[in-house]
Symmetry: C2
Subunit: 269 residues, 2 copies
């Protein structure tokens, strides 16, 4: 068991009610799941998700709470395990119920709720909530956020979060590690891109493993540019709303477009 409580999200007042309701439901469900289940139980794979990856028990529990909250709010839901749930609305919540599922299951206090509100096919608002602290980052597309990126433009001297190296990405990973000043691997893309947006780190990168699905990046797609940064795919593939959950990207979040470009050229070698 993990004895640390999960606080309620500390939400700004202008968060869309459907996003707020789902985030609150997610935190509450995760808190209860940590009290009821052991780490081994939370990590157990209980189903295959709509995105083609196995669903851990912790994901299933939190997503069920989110689906109920989305239905109550009258919004559609696109989520990694359940896929698309049509509640007959022009508004769709695109949500990663538990980003950093392995962390969340094991008790490593680095996991979050991340979601965006999409009207027709345009992301208009995003919310990221770090479960273990209740810290929340809210952003509205096209409006500057109160938090800002660092503004750094060069990789030399930068602090960079990366996904872990995988077979085939080791060399690109090590090129970035050797060029940057500091490297971190937190295993939670949505929290790491929030840290880019608030200026705690300069950048985040998947060095080419094509791990990211739409819900891993859509909150950052709204939040990072609103904070002054850039959110791109390593290979320039457009990040667009799509119900096809088999699509993958290698997300790059950076304090500035210039830093994103240098990261991409360093990774591509």
């Amino acid at each position: 068991m993990n004895q640390w409580p999960v606080p309620a999200p500390n939400l700004p007042s202008d968060v869309h009610p459907a996003l707020a309701a789902t985030a609150i439901a997610a935190s509450r469900a995760y808190d209860q799941a940590r009290r009821e289940f052991t780490r081994v139980q939370l990590r157990e794979e209980v189903a295959d998700g709509a995105d083609g990856t196995p669903t851990m028990r912790v994901d299933a529990i939190v997503e069920a709470a989110i689906a109920e909250a989305a239905a109550d709010a009258g919004a559609n839901l696109l989520s990694e395990e359940a896929g698309f749930i049509d509640n007959g609305s022009a508004a769709t919540l695109v949500i990663d119920p538990v980003d950093g599922s392995a962390n969340a299951a094991l008790g490593v206090p680095l996991s979050c709720f991340a979601g965006a509100l999409v009207i027709d096919d345009q992301p208009v608002e995003a919310l990221t909530v770090w479960f273990d602290t209740g810290r929340a980052w809210s952003a509205h597309a096209g409006s500057p956020t109160p938090f800002r990126t660092t503004g750094r433009t060069k990789l030399k001297g930068a602090s960079v979060c990366m996904m872990r190296p995988k077979r085939g990405t080791e060399e690109a990973w090590m090129r970035v590690a050797n060029e940057a000043d500091r490297i971190r691997v937190l295993c939670t893309t949505c929290l790491e891109t929030a840290l880019v947006a608030e200026g705690s780190v300069d950048a985040f990168a998947d060095p080419g493993s094509d791990t990211h699905r739409l819900m891993d990046l859509i909150a950052a797609l709204v939040t990072v540019p609103a904070a002054g940064g850039a959110l791109l795919d390593l290979h320039g593939r457009p990040l667009t709303f799509d119900l096809d959950l088999s699509r993958r990207w290698s997300g790059i979040a950076a304090a500035t477009p210039a830093l994103a470009d240098e990261l991409i050229s360093t990774i591509l070698g």
Copy 2:
């Protein structure tokens, strides 16, 4: 500026008053420093520490608060910036004022206070406090802690925290990364070893960079074994109390002695 508050430490009741007082002073000083200074100012190198590494402003501020609290408590202090401060006691507090200094300065919410109470030359008690959440791990040498390691004995399937690869340790780093199930780089040894002790990750390793000083490992030296795990040096050098701050180790913390041995043999190749 970093707008997130630093809570007071959530301390168990049986923490030694001198350790408790220094931990509380450290959290308060870090909280105030984050309000008063920008990230760039907190990161600025303001002196050379007694351990031979540069002292960031955030380290200097927190250590000054700790030194005052130690003097009030009548204990000696051995700390990385000030070195040994003899207050005429048989009790010495060996403290890393801010473990994860770069994180602490930048705003990455992964940094902690870590200290041990040494009587004559024996560490008898340890305390680690994660600044951003107030979570605390207390341990008394030779007494089982309520939190326990995972008990994992094999590297295959393990979740491992590592220091970042440095020139000369890249190959060892990648051998561990390829063998383990999950890899994280949090850049805060004392917090990472606390996560080993509480069973959130299976192990932590410096893959041979000899980065650790006594105060980076002494809290883990008490805490990890008390939780069922092992704390060793990569090359088998004994970890002993010593006023010589030029000594270095490559610390290995693991859920079990067997896992520590496998990590060491994997790193040494």
